[in-house]
Amino acid sequence: MGRAVELAAGVRSGEVRAADVVEGYLSAIDAREAEVHAFNLVLADAARERAAAIDAVVASGGDPGPLAGVPVALKDNLCTRGVPTTCSSKILDGWRPPYDATVVERLAAAGAVVVGKTNLDEFAMGSSTENSAFGPTRNPLDVSRVPGGSSGGSAAAVAAGFAEVSLGSDTGGSIRQPAALCGVIGVKPTYGAVSRHGLVAFASSLDQIGPFANDVADAALLLESIAGHDPGDSTSIPEVFPSLGASLRAGVEGVRIGRISDLPAGADADVEARLEAAFEALAAAGAEIVDVEVPAFTYGLTAYYLIAPAEASSNLARYDGVRFGLRVDAADTNAMYTATRSAGFGDEVQRRIMLGTYALSAGYYDAYYGKALKVRRLIADDFARAYERCDVMLTPASPSVAFPFGSKTADPFAMYLCDTYTIPSNLAGHPAMSVPFGSGADDLPVGVQVLAPALGEPVMFQVAAELERRAS
């Protein structure tokens, strides 16, 4: 049973007080947050108030919900009403949304206690959280190294015990890669399974919100609490989200695990070794390992780095100094736009806006954005064919363990390669999750990625739970 699951059960039954629970996590924050910098904003008072309210509900015989009293951290690109939501950008510094994201509402309804807004690469663009305008987050396991990105803060918060679970967002791997680097579970759900209403958009056809946790069971609980149709998001899947409880206990007897034989190279030897061990462990547990091919997998990086910046260049055009956020004054509106955006956006964001604008511009649409959409189709088709022969696939989540600060910042493309294995799932809209499976170089954690077809969360969690059982 997961720690959050246990915690919630304890709070609901009155055995444990939410107020005491949250104090424990707030102490952990006090002890190490200055060093780790997982948060843009710690919400200690609000958390205490909320915990007290939950205890009051329990005392009066009510049920606060399945996440009762569980401390949760929220990536700072999730809108929280009246609470600053910055996307770790100067252009939104101090902005308080006048509304809550749907997932925030659902967490509140489930009784969770929000302890803070976590740091991220600016506007979710990055793989190390070094692109934050408010300083990087450090990997709690080795503070000379990155926690990964873009949801570095959310991953670190869970790894450091600042929250039991957290929410991040994943566009090209921004949950799974930091999960792998920090040694926690990270899940990107099927596209459309979790409402994007209130998630500050990076790339609309790729973004998904998902959980970080220390246990597979907790990740499942959190995902079930936030998933499900939202009429406020037109891309939200109408079908009822499958329940995951049974999957956690099912084992992998007869499950077909795909090994992608034409997977692009680039993973370090220590990571490869842990992936091999994962295959072996699952085989020992009764799974069938099947060789499959996904020929277009290797083109995912290119397709992604044309599609995502293109959508982002449009999504970020609204940051113009007119209605909210930073404004740098100028003699006319046009000059104001330019001054505001140039001062408000960091380098990586500007680079991606430029790339995306170019990919969509007259004369170049067909060669870049248009082509990338076709490559996306190829990847989806290749996956579909492969899933005729297997139920899930396994790959590395990240090509390497956590790397030192500054080691990939000289060449943007070097950083982009971090997403090699995570990107194709976003392009296809498929679920995928990273599960810690032992250690690699320097005793740092390695994450194994489980991939599944759309709405394949049950079998994905089924395999993840087995990996968790066999990780030690």
Partner: protein, 100 residues
């Protein structure tokens, strides 16, 4: 090595995106973008004839809502968050040089 993208192209794109790079960064940005486009040329090898573009991962159609009014935002709360609010509207500098 011939460039895929020139600094003129980049300057034009910067104007479209309302970003002021400055001369130095313009050069750096040009070379970075050119480098990236070089990496991205791998998809030129693919045969994409007859392949349908994929714009949405999950095939939905006809998502509609009823034509019923729902409560919106409070004007004062919204204007309080604005950079330069008038009593009841958003103020901006003179609108020049724009397609209006």
């Amino acid at each position: 090595m011939s460039k895929r993208i020139s600094s003129d192209d980049v300057a034009k794109v910067a104007r479209l995106a309302r970003l002021d790079l400055g001369d130095e960064r313009l050069e750096a940005m040009t070379s970075q973008l050119d480098d990236m486009l070089g990496h991205f040329a791998d998809i030129d090898a693919l045969d994409l004839d007859g392949v349908e573009p994929m714009t949405q991962p999950y095939p939905l159609v006809n998502v509609l809502r009823d034509d019923t009014v729902a409560p919106g935002l409070d004007r004062d709360e919204v204007l309080a968050a604005a950079p330069d609010p008038d009593s009841d509207r958003f103020r901006v500098p003179p609108i020049l040089g724009l397609d209006g």
